[in-house]
Structures are given as structure tokens and as C-alpha cells.
């Protein structure tokens, strides 16, 4: 699938293919022309992807080929055992988790999971967890705490599921409890927003010592579409809303609401999944090393202080 802003690049790439074919089938010397075009493509790509608007990044974060939580987990772990269920109601397919090893260190890995085709998307409820998803996540975090294993969460959700049963089973309470419990987990917690970070549904597993965003992910209190609907009673202003919300990794970092950004390959995470996974793995290992060196009580204190410092008021 091509996004609008990718089309000029794709056109040039098609032209390059043509040129290469011509070069193969004739004696014409087009080497220099090919080189020039390749350079032009590289430049255009760089310019395009370094200057994406908020809305363009939102589109990339939802790209149908974008890697999801389990893609990364399987890519970065040597072994992974998925664990299921909240021990109360059921097993939420939109929230996955389990124990995995990365370079010999065992982690508890948890995240929202989206599906890749229609059937899977339904199975995963489009990455929108029910309360049991948040309770399963908390259960696994407690388990990690018991066995003193660091926790990594992957955030990728259009929001917590706004359904009838979700309300009956206390969606609000489930998220709220996670917020309060995650701030005082005794083990290191690393949270990575890999795609969409929509509102409380994202925050419900995003309270960590380090909260990091992939370069083309977004994180805010509401999606641009819903923001547009509320403010202008129409989806048509989503681009504008995406700018207003300051939802990109860069904006969130400058507002001090996240701790860092993980670079994506030019063109987005989906263009080079292995590279992206390697980058995430490297970040996890480095961050764990740094966090593990701290005293647990000090880690918790800093975690609480960090979140309590967020916000801007006038007095």
C-alpha cells in the first residue's frame, strides 16, 4: 500500500526500474543517469521522511505492513513462552504477553496486538483490549516482580474497547488500577510505543521508568479523527487535529512526556523489520543495564517523580 506522500518516491523508483531494464537490454550507456536518479531518490526519501507532518506519521503508524507486538517479540527473543488469561474472566486476544529471553536475560514482554488480515483483525479486536486485557497485563507484571524480571511493554492500540461488556467489567477501573500499580513495580519497566498510543487504553500499560516512542508512532489523549469530530463535528479536519494534538514522538519528547525516541529506518519500520527489531533490542538491552544498576526504591521514587512533574500550570 502506498501512502499519498510516498507516491512521488514510488514514481521515481519505477522510473529507475525502467532505466535499469533498458540498460540490461541495450548498449546505451545510462550508468550515470541511473546513479543520478538513485541519488535523487535517496534525497527525496530523506526529505520526505524527515519532514513528515503529524498526520503523515499517524498514517505510517497504521500502515498495514507495520510490525506488531508479536512480530517484534519473536524477532528479538531467543525463546518466548506466551502466557494467557487474567484468571478471572478470560483471555484477551488484544493483549498478549509472556516470558522471553533476550541475550540470556529473561524479560516479561507484554503488549497490545493487532491483526494483519480481516479475520485476524477481528480475532485481535483491532488491538482494543477489554478490562481482562489490562488485568492480564497486571497479572503478568506481578509475576515478573515475583521473579525479579524486567518488564517491557509494547503499546499499539487505537484505544481501550468501548463496548457493553467492557463497561460491565469495569474498563475504567482496570486501567486506573494499572496506573497505580505500575508506578510501584519493584522491577525495571520499559514502555515502547510502537504504533498507535491512543489515550487511556495506551496509558494502561505505559507507566514505566523509560517510556520510548518509535519515530513514526503517535501518542495522545485522543485520535486525530475523534478530536476532529468533537471540535468540528466532522472527520475532515483530522490533519489539522493531528498538528494541534502534538502527538508525534518529537513533540512528546519536547513536552517531556516521554523519555526518548527510537529511530526508524527511512520509509518507516515496515520497510526494514529486522533492522527495526535490532534497534529495539539494542535499546532494551542498554536501558535495562542502566535501570538494573539502580536501587529498586530509588527507581520507584524517580518513576513517581517523573510522572508527577508532568503538566504545565500558571500561578
Amino acid at each position: 500500500m502506498l501512502l499519498d506522500f510516498e507516491k512521488p518516491i514510488a514514481e521515481l523508483e519505477a522510473k529507475l526500474e525502467d532505466m535499469k531494464r533498458i540498460a540490461q537490454n541495450s548498449d546505451a550507456d545510462v550508468k550515470d543517469a541511473i546513479k543520478a536518479l538513485e541519488k535523487k531518490i535517496r534525497q527525496l526519501k530523506k526529505e520526505t521522511f524527515e519532514n513528515l507532518t503529524g498526520w503523515q506519521r499517524v498514517q505510517l503508524s497504521r500502515h498495514p505492513d507495520r510490525p506488531y507486538t508479536l512480530d517484534y517479540i519473536y524477532e528479538i527473543t531467543d525463546d518466548f513462552i506466551e502466557l494467557h488469561g487474567d484468571r478471572t474472566v478470560g483471555d484477551d486476544k488484544a493483549m498478549v504477553g509472556g516470558l522471553g529471553t533476550i541475550d540470556g536475560q529473561t524479560y516479561m514482554l507484554i503488549g497490545q496486538q493487532k491483526g494483519r488480515n480481516t479475520k485476524q483483525r477481528q480475532f485481535r479486536n483491532f488491538g482494543m483490549p477489554n478490562p481482562e486485557g489490562y488485568r492480564k497485563a497486571l497479572r503478568l507484571m506481578r509475576l515478573a516482580e515475583k521473579f525479579r524480571k524486567p518488564i517491557v511493554t509494547f503499546i499499539d492500540t487505537p484505544g481501550a474497547f468501548p463496548g457493553l461488556e467492557a463497561e460491565q467489567r469495569g474498563q475504567g477501573e482496570a486501567i486506573a488500577r494499572n496506573l497505580k500499580e505500575m508506578v510501584r513495580l519493584k522491577v525495571p519497566v520499559i514502555c515502547i510505543i510502537i504504533g498507535e498510543g491512543a489515550s487511556g487504553g495506551a496509558l494502561g500499560i505505559a507507566i514505566g521508568d523509560r517510556v520510548l516512542m518509535l519515530e513514526n508512532s503517535w501518542y495522545s489523549v485522543i485520535s486525530p479523527e475523534n478530536c476532529s469530530t468533537i471540535l468540528w463535528r466532522s472527520w475532515d479536519y483530522k490533519e489539522q487535529a493531528a498538528e494541534l494534538l502534538k502527538l508525534t514522538a518529537k513533540d512528546m519528547l519536547s513536552l517531556k512526556l516521554i523519555d526518548g525516541i527510537i529511530r526508524e529506518p527511512l520509509g518507516g519500520a515496515h520497510t526494514d523489520m529486522k533492522w527495526m527489531a535490532a534497534e529495539i533490542k539494542k535499546t532494551i538491552l542498554e536501558t535495562t543495564k542502566e535501570l538494573s544498576a539502580m536501587d529498586p526504591a530509588e527507581r520507584i521514587r524517580q518513576r513517581i517523580d517523573k510522572f508527577c512533574a508532568m503538566g504545565v500550570v500558571k500561578e
Partner: protein
């Protein structure tokens, strides 16, 4: 012919009482009952016979709960900044200013310390009339500091929620107020200080998904709408009408997320009994 010319403006309702309380002399309840506003006030703003709880704000709750309406307001001058430079149909700061003029409030919550039947208590009460009781940095910070006050002086906390959720105009900053208030409540836990959360009509969104649901005791007023997602959103998601009483306080109690429902006329008394048991 001077007898009809009014010499003073005494019977005009002052702006101050126009907050959430009914303005004018008479109040018509959703059930159709007409009540004199003074009678309503004497009845804790509950419509007699119907038990309908009229939406009221921090001024009325403070008067209902603090002994002799005496209290010291915490951070009374804190106001919203506009860190995101947010302008939709109008600039955010203009929206704030208009709400401030209309409601004579600074933002969507007031926090205060005083005595409730002689018991020291910090009460934070949201005002729905201020941009839908939405939580931005001010609401989060005021709650956070109110909790600091509780921790420092070892006194219990009551938060009265009435809110549409997080404030969109502060986007990511609003979202993080959920984390901030919840983090501070964790400290109250560790210190063994009681926190009572009173949910009133309506309490939804990011407020439900943070401090409102985290009380040692979650209590609610009768008939209050309490939920995470709003009814309209859920209706659109499931594509059918919602069952009667869905997301009412009674429904939420029935599903295990409230300790009890309390009639506003008994609120002060019930809080006193509860707090005494914990002392």
C-alpha cells in the same frame, strides 16, 4: 406611577449562583416536579419525593460538607496555561477566560482543607460547569498537591468527581494527569491514609480511568452516570440501544465497582461514620 419602577436589583439572580445550581426561583426536575430553589437548597439540592440529585458544584458541596462552611482553599489561584498553543474554533486561553467569567471559577476543580463534623479532611471537588469538568494540568496538579497536603498532615482525602474526562486542549499533558494522580494515590496507600472517591453525575473517560475508580471506598450518588466510554460511543460501537439503567450508579454497584450509593442528604453523616471507623 413610580410604584412599578424597581428601586433595587435585589431579585435578579447574581451570577455567582448561576453555576450549576438552578437559577431563578423555581426548579423543574426531569420528572416534572417544580420546586422552590430555597427548598431545594435546604434539601441538599435533592428534589423532594423524587430523590433526583440536581447537579451542583464545589461551592455547594463545600457548604454541605465543611462545618459552618469554613475551609481553606488550596492553590486557589492556579490557572491553565496553553502549553500546546491550542486553537480550534477559538483559542484555548480564550475558552478558559470565557469559562472563568461565566462560572467565576479558575478551573474544573477546587481543593480545600477543613473540618467535617470535627474531622480534618481535604476535599477536592470538580465543577462540571467549567469545560465539562475536564481534567487538564490544573486538575491534575491540584489533586497532586492536595494529596501532598494529606501526606504531610496525615489527613484523609475525599475527591468528588463530575467530569467528561481528560481535557482535549492539553492533549498529551492531560493524558499524563491520569498517571500523575494515580501515582500520588499510590503514596497515600503506602502511608495508610484513607481516600474516599465520590462519583457524581456524570463521571466518565480519563477521570473514571484514574483517580475516581481508585478510592479505598468508591461511593456514588443515586442515578449518576458512571463509565469509561460515553453511552453514545458505545451505542455506535455495538450498533444497538443500550439497556435501561446501563452505566447508572446502581448498575455500577451491581457489577462490583462501588462500595455503596449514598443519598446526598446523608452524605456528611455517612462520611463521618466511615471516617470515624478508620481513625
Amino acid at each position: 406611577m413610580a410604584w412599578f419602577r424597581r428601586s433595587d436589583k435585589g431579585i435578579l439572580t447574581p451570577t455567582e449562583s448561576k453555576r450549576e445550581v438552578p437559577d431563578g426561583l423555581w426548579f423543574k426536575s426531569p420528572g416534572g416536579k417544580i420546586v422552590h430553589t430555597r427548598e431545594l437548597k435546604h434539601n441538599a439540592f435533592v428534589v423532594p419525593d423524587e430523590d433526583y440529585h440536581v447537579r451542583i458544584g464545589s461551592k455547594e458541596y463545600f457548604e454541605l460538607l465543611f462545618d459552618h462552611n469554613e475551609f481553606k482553599e488550596l492553590d486557589p489561584d492556579m490557572e491553565s496555561a496553553d502549553p500546546l498553543n491550542f486553537t480550534d474554533t477559538k483559542p484555548y486561553l480564550e475558552r478558559i477566560r470565557e469559562s472563568q467569567e461565566k462560572t467565576e471559577l479558575k478551573d474544573a476543580i477546587r481543593t480545600a482543607v477543613g473540618k467535617l463534623n470535627g474531622i480534618d479532611i481535604v476535599i477536592g471537588c470538580m465543577d462540571f460547569s467549567f469545560i465539562g469538568g475536564s481534567m487538564g494540568s490544573v486538575v491534575g496538579e491540584k489533586i497532586s498537591r492536595a494529596i501532598d497536603h494529606c501526606l504531610k498532615h496525615r489527613i484523609p482525602l475525599l475527591l468528588i468527581s463530575r467530569s467528561g474526562g481528560a481535557r482535549m486542549m492539553e492533549a498529551g499533558l492531560s493524558l499524563m494527569q491520569m498517571a500523575k494522580t494515580s501515582a500520588k494515590l499510590a503514596l497515600l496507600d503506602e502511608a495508610g491514609i484513607p481516600y474516599i472517591s465520590l462519583l457524581t453525575d456524570p463521571t466518565t473517560g480519563g477521570v473514571t480511568a484514574s483517580f475516581a475508580m481508585l478510592g479505598d471506598f468508591n461511593i456514588a450518588e443515586p442515578g449518576a452516570l458512571i463509565g469509561f466510554a460515553g453511552p453514545r460511543v458505545i451505542r455506535e460501537t455495538i450498533g444497538k440501544d443500550l439497556p435501561k439503567g446501563f452505566q447508572s450508579a446502581e448498575f455500577v454497584l451491581d457489577h462490583g465497582f462501588l462500595d455503596f450509593i449514598v443519598d446526598r442528604r446523608n452524605l456528611k453523616n455517612r462520611l463521618t461514620v466511615l471516617l470515624k471507623m478508620l481513625a
